[in-house]
Symmetry: C2
Subunit: 355 residues, 2 copies
């Protein structure tokens, strides 16, 4: 096989990360970018060289709203190439590509590597950004099987986990598990503007978790939500109904049925959250939580974990919690139930402080 050549259009976080990863695999990566400064930066990073000549695979990594147009342009420019993209909404882009470039549309196959960072731009790029992340590939009924295989191989080459579904299935899934949560979290965090410092000082981990994604980039999310508005709207409408019912219950607590409705919503929340798969793709395992106190200095967490490693217990999940006003940390460790008691005993006997 002759040396593979892949072209990446768009040297932002995703494009540059792809370039770095593919270059590491010895692939000849050609980069193209509207901003010459970012292009130079990506090339200096080692994400590839300036694109020239023909390519048989083109990956379009531009903003969601530019994607269809750029895909169409690349399909025309490289008449033998398979062209894919990485945008987080798939059906509208596929429709647009078919509308703008119907004669080439069979050579387009959408994909969505579900990777990202809080920061954008080529400077935030990482060769291993896609490592162990789902990479959704969204063929239509007419997509050649070989194209799907090509992108599956690309994903696996970068240690991502390829998942094949239709563009509509993908968009419906991300509307539920990504776009609705984004809107809800943003709307919740927006309410914090009305709070004073004393009130916000009582914020705990619950609020921090519930509002974390509200710090996402509004410009990017405006584009994502716009492209998936027709699938997000019905979910948000259902959510709004629940909020309305909650509000009515709270405002009329003495009316018959109000408490039952409130209780029912809380129970449905229990059921819903239990449906999210846990780590390793499996169902939630009911891990046991141990909380250990450490002082907030270099090495103290390490010596705790060294000790746990020596005991031979595997940490399934770990969270470090710092309490306001205290120079100590609480380490929350999840372990398998059968290991919890032994670990707890060992820790206590060896002078660790469990809370």
């Amino acid at each position: 096989m002759s040396q593979e050549r892949i072209k990446i259009v768009g040297a932002g976080l995703i494009g540059t990360s792809l370039g770095l990863a593919l270059t590491k695999h010895g692939i000849d990566v050609g980069l193209e970018n509207r901003s010459k400064a970012n292009l130079r930066l990506a090339i200096e990073y080692g994400a590839g060289k300036e694109a020239e000549g023909d390519y048989d695979l083109v990956i379009v990594c531009v903003s969601p709203e530019m994607t269809a147009e750029v895909v169409a342009g690349q399909l025309a420019k490289h008449p033998q190439a398979l062209v894919t993209d990485v945008a987080s909404v798939k059906a509208e882009i596929a429709r647009e590509v078919t509308r703008i470039a119907p004669e080439h549309a069979l050579r387009y196959l959408g994909s969505h590597p579900m990777a990202g960072r809080e920061k954008g731009g080529p400077g935030a790029a990482r060769a291993d950004l896609f490592f162990a992340r789902p990479w959704v590939i969204t063929p239509s009924a007419a997509t050649p099987a070989a194209s799907v295989e090509r992108l599956k191989n690309l994903a696996m080459q970068l240690s991502a986990l390829p998942i094949v579904m239709s563009a509509e299935e993908h968009d419906r899934a991300v509307a539920l598990v990504s776009h609705l949560p984004q809107l809800v979290s943003s709307a919740l965090a927006a309410r914090l503007q009305s709070g004073n410092e004393q009130q916000l000082g009582l914020a705990g981990q619950g609020l921090r978790d519930a509002s974390r994604i509200a710090s996402s980039d509004p410009d990017l999310w405006l584009q994502i939500l716009s492209q998936n508005a027709n699938l997000v709207s019905p979910l948000l409408a259902e959510f709004k109904k629940d909020i309305e019912e909650l509000l009515q219950s709270l405002e009329n607590l003495d009316s018959p049925g109000s408490l039952a409705k409130l209780h029912n919503l809380l129970e449905r929340g229990n059921i819903g959250v239990a449906r999210i798969p846990g780590k390793h793709g499996g169902k939630f395992v009911d891990y046991q939580l141990l909380t250990v106190v450490i002082d907030d200095s270099p090495g103290s967490l390490a010596s705790l974990l060294t000790f746990i490693g020596e005991v031979g217990v595997n940490i399934e999940d770990l969270k470090l919690e710092h309490s306001p006003g205290a120079q100590i940390g609480l380490v929350e460790i999840q372990v398998l139930p059968e290991a919890a008691e032994r670990l707890s005993e060992q820790l206590t006997q060896n002078g660790w402080r469990l809370v």
Copy 2:
């Protein structure tokens, strides 16, 4: 000073934890509980002995809806005692106590140790449950200063952080930072009931975080929300307005102003989340994120952290992320910006895999 005697009414998670902690400090703790089985369990744990005789401090740790009545009973039973409680809504309980027992109400002083666990009951109790947690004390204008001092000392004795504010201020604060997030998270998680397995399989950390508190106990939360309904309702009404506006924007994307409204809400979310104080009670520091790959085996996290300790870099925050389908873990480490580059270099040079 003669030996202190404190009575705890209610041997659930909070009451038993208080008993364990106070007993460790050499205080003579008397326990009282409606369920004799739970009382015996708490006593066996070492949380105190069965209450008898008189006490000068009584801490009522029963369910929110029972609290006022039990407080009133204890005020009558112990005519010299300061009686406090630990319920998470304060104003309604204070009103009820004044209504039921006006002649004793000056001896009641509400408090709210902001500590808890996912699990309830005496079996989940921990002596250090209150360690470094806020403990809100809610005097009225008529409360004697000595009573406030007494509870502040109690909180500090248990290494909690006493914060004094009025019951109304407290309830307004928790409505915003605790009760509204609970309702929103529960309503979001309730929507997951409509998703299929394929959709939920694409769930990422964002959804996990946003829905985590939706797994809280519906029975307890029904009581909490009922007692604070008048302060939670206006916040939920404002939230509902934002959701309605969002929905209208999404359903009429082409109408003038729709995109601006959507963008504005996302921006307000940015501003709101930035108002939550960070660790050590300060404002958010812009920590730098490093992500390191480890294999999912005992000791691998420890050896990473041992190495970081040797480099002399303090970990400000740490999250362990397991990817579905992969037997590896991603360790997300937050460090001060000035330490990030050095640590990153040291890790890479010593064979750690950064992503």
